[in-house]
């Protein structure tokens, strides 16, 4: 019996361990080693911190880094603000038989790839795009304006891309919110905002935090949307990493950037958990 359960454990654990070690741990160790190596004047590889030092010396690098962090937090907040009413509507307002249908509608855009979805936005927003065309036809605009390639558009795209990952955990926490709690607060004299901030949000905190972690990490590591919708005006840190690996072929510098990004996301998530007094083990349940 005992050996049997040990075998079962081994069988279940092996793929997980293989996956973790082969795809996560080994590449990261390799990246770490690479980020600490640099070519010296004789063309030999030596140990050095210069990859990290150059990050702090070049303002373009660390400015992009800070920009990416700030915008990722902003995107996470905006996604939360958009997703909370949507999740509340689906779980509490609409008749139960439409709930599944509405959730499916939310899911539907995710059946096509992110690339196609972003191109969809580009068709709408570009200078010769649908929105400009309609506005000119209606006489609201005289000449088309470029709506792509700025920060606002990029944030719009990132929020759109991340929506689902916020709505789903919110739906599951809001489903566990007893309607009578909201009614009791209403009965005791609370208005809409008090109910939102004193009842709904405290109840939903685990869902908000787990949704925020996912959205934040996806946004921070997103490459496609900032690249296509933000263009050259809206630099994202992932583009810097890409440039180092592909354009400059400087894998060592790229690895250092990759590691800095990992540290950044870990630090901000830790900070977020601490500020909201949540435990990671509780949030990921």
């Amino acid at each position: 019996m005992k050996t049997q359960s040990r075998w079962a454990l081994a069988i279940f654990l092996t793929p997980v361990l293989l996956w973790l070690i082969l795809l996560i741990v080994i590449p990261h160790i390799d990246l770490l080693i690479m980020s600490l190596r640099v070519e010296n004047d004789f063309g030999d590889m030596t140990w050095s911190l210069s990859n990290y030092i150059s990050f702090f010396k070049e303002p373009i690098y660390w400015l992009t880094f800070v920009r990416t962090a700030v915008y990722s937090i902003l995107v996470t907040l905006l996604t939360l603000i958009v997703a909370l009413p949507v999740a509340f509507y689906i779980t509490k307002v609409v008749a139960p038989r439409y709930q599944g249908f509405l959730t499916l509608l939310l899911l539907l855009p995710f059946w096509v790839s992110e690339l196609v979805r972003v191109y969809g936005w580009m068709i709408l927003l570009r200078e010769s795009g649908v929105i400009n065309h309609v506005l000119i036809r209606l006489g609201i605009l005289d000449a088309p304006i470029e709506m792509l390639y700025n920060d606002a558009t990029m944030i719009l795209g990132l929020v759109y891309t991340s929506m689902l990952f916020m709505v789903v955990p919110l739906i599951s926490v809001l489903e566990s919110l007893d309607d009578s709690l909201v009614e009791a607060a209403y009965d005791l004299g609370a208005g809409m905002w008090t109910i939102l901030f004193r009842i709904i949000i405290p109840h939903s905190t685990p869902g908000i935090v787990s949704g925020s972690i996912v959205v934040f990490m996806l946004t921070l590591g997103n490459y496609l949307t900032p690249n296509l919708m933000g263009g050259k005006n809206s630099l994202w840190f992932t583009e810097q990493i890409y440039n180092q690996f592909i354009a400059s072929f400087n894998w060592n510098q790229g690895s250092a950037f990759g590691f800095l990004l990992l540290l950044l996301s870990s630090a901000i998530i830790w900070l977020g958990l601490t500020l909201t007094r949540q435990k990671l083990s509780k949030v990921i349940q």
Binding site: S180, E183, A184, A185, D187, L188, G189, H203
Partner: protein, 366 residues
């Protein structure tokens, strides 16, 4: 007496279905008023109309003389104790109780003082910082009531708050609630499907069925003088015979006595609320405790019949005999007083049963 709550001709329709159907009643200040009815009779809907969670299709609701229709729940001077209490799990006991006062922007010091006083009153002194999930069922109950009472509502509405408690605690809370109500003097309106809760605690009880009030009366009157067959059946236990009126006589004091022949052929004398012509089909109701086992043969004016004991349902003071009258094959419940006088009764014994004509009551058959 001032009227705290007045409900006039209130109707609530859900599509074609009328959940509340032309209900009118008034509750005087300081009274304990209950609405008793089976589940689905519309009592919770009526409560929600008063609390403001729904608007009536027709009719007027006045609280302390002011029409509250159109006012949202947070601006009505009534508070509701929810069926499952709905305490806020994200707050501690004191924060739960203070919730309403904070919404009124009362001063911190006042809130603190009032919360302490209220917790003291409901016997939860020192529980301020306890979490909700650390409380027992009865303590949660008291927090839920304290949370409402602290706002000094014109009427405190209670939606079956004892339903989730176990029997022993429920009995205890019944007495406690009644005492608390007498102490604070707030008007209580209590919704329940449990007749014992309604009878024990209330000054007045309305029996509700299919969206209508069947009878609004004191608990004693409901039990002793039911006005409709539904009340007779729903409040307390009752044995039923179906039969036909043979004779209707009016005695000297104006009360009406009917002679009823049951379907099984027994003839009983019984009172009736109103005269009925011979030949009318009737239902006759008789409470288990109205029947005497082996009545003294010298007692006159009793309806007498014999029955075979089928089973003895021992339940302490509430023990009964399940017996089969010799005429027909139906079962009746007869109260079995636990004074040792009837300890000799065994299954399959034949016993004589007698009852006074004033104990039964007749209604035209439904």
């Amino acid at each position: 007496m001032a009227i705290d709550l007045s409900v006039q001709h209130v109707v609530k329709m859900f599509g074609d279905f009328s959940a509340v159907d032309d209900v009118t009643f008034e509750v005087e200040n300081g009274r304990f008023f209950s609405i008793l009815g089976p589940s689905g009779c519309g009592k919770t809907t009526l409560l929600r109309l008063i609390a403001g969670f729904a608007e009536p299709s027709e009719g007027i609701i006045e609280i302390r003389g002011e029409n509250v229709l159109g006012l949202p729940p947070n601006r009505r001077p009534v508070n509701l104790v929810f069926q499952h209490l709905a305490l806020f799990p994200m707050m501690n006991v004191a924060e739960n109780v203070a919730f309403g006062l904070k919404r009124r922007n009362e001063r911190r010091g006042d809130i603190h003082r009032k919360v302490s006083a209220m917790l003291e009153r409901v016997g939860l002194h020192g529980f301020e910082t306890k979490k909700i999930d650390q409380l027992s069922g009865g303590q949660k109950q008291r927090v839920a009531i304290a949370r409402c009472l602290i706002l000094e509502p014109a009427v405190l509405l209670l939606d079956e708050p004892l339903g989730a408690l176990d029997l022993k605690l429920r009995e205890q809370m019944k007495v406690e609630l009644k005492k608390l109500q007498a102490e604070v003097g707030t008007t209580f309106m209590y919704i329940t499907h449990d007749q014992s809760e309604a009878l024990v605690m209330s000054d007045h009880v309305a029996v509700m069925n299919n969206g209508k009030f069947e009878q609004v009366d004191t608990p004693q009157n409901l039990y002793n003088n039911p006005q409709t067959p539904f009340v007779a059946k729903f409040v307390g236990d009752n044995n039923t015979w179906t039969g036909m009126v043979r004779r209707s006589t009016e005695s000297g004091d104006g009360s009406i006595v009917l002679e009823v022949e049951t379907r099984e052929g027994e003839r009983f004398m019984t009172r009736s609320a109103y005269p009925m012509t011979p030949g009318t089909a009737v239902d006759l109701f008789l409470r288990p405790e109205a029947m005497l086992i082996q009545p003294d043969s010298t007692l006159t004016g009793l309806n007498r019949f014999t029955a075979v004991v089928r089973s003895i349902l021992f339940d302490g003071a509430n023990s009964r005999v399940l017996a089969c009258p010799e005429a027909g094959d139906r079962e009746i419940l007869v109260a079995l007083p636990q004074n040792r006088q009837f300890d000799h009764i065994q299954i399959n014994d034949t016993i004589e049963i007698g009852w006074d004509s004033q104990s039964g009551i007749c209604f035209p058959a439904s």
